[in-house]
Subunit: 226 residues, 2 copies
Amino acid sequence: MSPKAEAPARPRERLTRNRVIDAALLIMDADGIEAVTMRRVAREVGVEAMSLYNHVTDKEDLLDGICARVMADFRFPDEEGDWVATTRHGASEWRRVLKSHPNVLALFAERNKPMTDLDALMPMEFALRTIGRAGIGEREAVQVFNVMGGYIMGFVMMESGRMFGGGTMEKDTPSPDQMAHVLAAGQLPCVAAALPHLASCDPDEQFAFGLDLLLAGLQARYGLPA
Amino acid sequence: MSPKAEAPARPRERLTRNRVIDAALLIMDADGIEAVTMRRVAREVGVEAMSLYNHVTDKEDLLDGICARVMADFRFPDEEGDWVATTRHGASEWRRVLKSHPNVLALFAERNKPMTDLDALMPMEFALRTIGRAGIGEREAVQVFNVMGGYIMGFVMMESGRMFGGGTMEKDTPSPDQMAHVLAAGQLPCVAAALPHLASCDPDEQFAFGLDLLLAGLQARYGLPA
DNA sequence: GGTGTATGCTTACGATGTACGTGAACATAG
DNA sequence: CTATGTTCACGTACATCGTAAGCATACACC
């Protein structure tokens, strides 16, 4: 029974950068971005805080790892059909990835450096390739990429952040603080009229609506798909 | 010379919620979001940290105040012309506001509650009113609002955050770390081809490009302006 | 004058990121 | 086999963060 006699083989399995980042992502999804603490992550992987620094240089590095990790979740649609269909699938997939880790958008927003990880850039490669299949030149392809990417990220930000009411307007929270008071003052009639629709509109439908607007515009400008 | 004998009248002018928030916004614009510290804000307004709590309940409240303050910077365009022109001006103005405080987007992203301040909601009121002028019904107006708002916020996020390279590709930083290495590996040919355009494209032009796509789609769907 | 209400200051506490030093497990050379 | 160098986890320590609590000061109104 002496703990030294029989070597416990590998009492705890070796820590890994991936294990650290996975734990951090799990914490962020569950308890928000401010819950991602070196001590908390360490506890989650069964280790002391300082041990994490053997696998990440910084907390900054850890957060970068989370970003790359999320981008790696992107599942590439097949590229069989026309570019419009592929674009639609790619856009939906990007939205799915962002929505499945709702707090990662804040990370993206506060991180002012571009991604360098291969996994993180492959969705961009996919997008540019698909846009190129529409017969759009390299320079315009960049424009289209920024426009579509911006639309997707912004839309998810609005739908998950609920900056302008709507998400929090469940019936158990009929008047979030001063909002109702401001509305009752008679100003903001359009906002007041829009509130019930904010709560009831189907996000999927809205997303497709705007996406179709952009795609229709592109098709009109660059010709119909083959 | 006794400091008590001659009352210095008003040696420091009274602190105000607005003064606190203004200072915080200034710090955030200058040194980033993580530099906004209670102690730092206090020092900037010439006061000790705890004195701020007479004017804001939390740091949370302070950040909310920054958000509202930024929204209040919105300068409403005149609503003389047709709704398309008004929409274009409103969108550009919103982008201007967001770009003039580049770090506020991260604040918006990590704040999961809707705005309740009257000043913060007036741009939304303006947008909904303008959309309504196009003859779009209340329900669809909400969709259009979300689509346009998402596009604007997402576009600014991509152009100021530079998530996908481009901004940081100035000539003094030709290869940000591993990026060049990854590209040289031969994968990501489309990204490699796009990089020079990322750096050279005019953001204003790109923004108008996507905005026109959306507006053209709306006009096609809802009829031409009066 | 006295008195109450704002408002600012000081001290203090727990949590955070991380610099630094120690020690155990393992690989390889002699 | 021992000796030695590398890797990795641990523990301690410190500056800085948000903020709770108590005290001090100044002004409004009687």
